[in-house]
Assembly symmetry: C2
DNA sequence: ATAAATATTGACTATTCAGTCAACAAATAA
DNA sequence: TTATTTGTTGACTGAATAGTCAATATTTAT
């Protein structure tokens, strides 16, 4: 029976985003998940263990969403295009999760090991960038730089989209977003 | 005598970044500032008041750094160039402050009003972008979008630079960074 | 059916912390 | 000088909280 565990992960996620880590009592997390405090500590050794689990398990879900319809034989550009739109739609559907990552990815509550495990999962994107450079499709700059800057554009775009939700249905706007992203890194 | 107040702002900044807001006792902030607890509450009504003061006063310092050598008669491109480099050098000198903003700008500890006051101070950059659009130097897209995306590129670049500090002295690298930034928004 | 393992409960505790306060010190004004 | 305001101190308090534990319930294995 894993649904109490899931309920704890979900109420934890929401409450941590709303109130912060230490301002959220474990008792409240448990209450809003509809379980007893003891149950929280049955599934998670400590409160820190809970937030680390929220981080890593949602990273996994994000990665899964990013990989949707991503095929090996695609060109670098269409792979990055797919990644761009997969991320945008994920962000629209999982705003709370996005906020969680924005707020806690650099926080001291998530331990170093967990952060590294989270980063590792993005290595496949890094590989696409490197591949794009080897085939001269992307700019000849350090791959890690292209990666970071592309991520920056994407973050900025998504932030803007979430602040102007009415633009979501403007397909042109989304295409313009991808152009900004692509033009920034294309060779 | 404002130096005890300043010492509190500084130790607060450092400790909040290292341990987080609630994981930092006011007693520790006071101790590391070399003053008594009571003194903290003499200068700041509450612990929240302290973190809001850290936020807004460092925003002011950042804005001042950004405006260095920024002249009204400059072209849009050279203004943005100046802003780019001013931000990069500020980030290198004030890494702790940058981390503070990254970690707390979206946190629930800083109240809405303070956040808005912080945003307001960036309106002069927004004006430069709008001006660039009116003179057809920048892309014809919503000004707020250009602003957010440019900010994203800058963040990504700085993040990358801080992770590879040896690149700081490679002037070519910095110029490449600005090219990424400029090419992304130029019309 | 019985035993063993696993899940669930919530009252309880030892600790921690934000903020107070009354006393004292230093600076400033009259 | 004397009075008043402003700065400084740190022991103290009331409230809140992470995690425990012994009891009970439920599931799984034999």
């Amino acid at each position: 029976m894993k649904d109490k565990r899931t309920a704890l992960l979900e109420s934890g996620l929401r409450l941590f985003v709303e109130n912060g880590f230490h301002a959220t009592p474990t008792s409240q997390i448990a209450r809003e998940a509809g379980v007893a405090t003891g149950t929280l500590f049955h599934y998670f050794k400590t409160k820190e263990d809970l937030i680390n689990s929220i981080y890593i398990e949602n990273k996994d879900l994000l990665i899964k969403a990013l990989k949707m319809d991503l095929e090996e034989q695609m060109t670098v550009k269409s792979k990055l295009r797919k990644l761009f739109f997969n991320f945008v739609y994920w962000a629209l559907d999982y705003t709370c999760e996005l906020q969680f990552f924005n707020q806690f990815s650099n926080s001291p509550f998530i331990d170093q090991l967990t952060k590294e495990q989270g980063m590792e999962r993005f290595s496949f994107v890094f590989e696409i960038v490197k591949n794009g450079q080897e085939t001269d499709v992307l700019k000849d700059l350090p791959a890690d730089l292209l990666f970071d800057v592309a991520q920056g554009v994407l973050n900025g775009f998504v932030l803007n989209l979430l602040a102007n939700r009415d633009r979501v249905n403007d397909l042109n706007f989304l295409e313009n977003g991808f152009s900004l992203y692509w033009d920034c890194i294309k060779g």
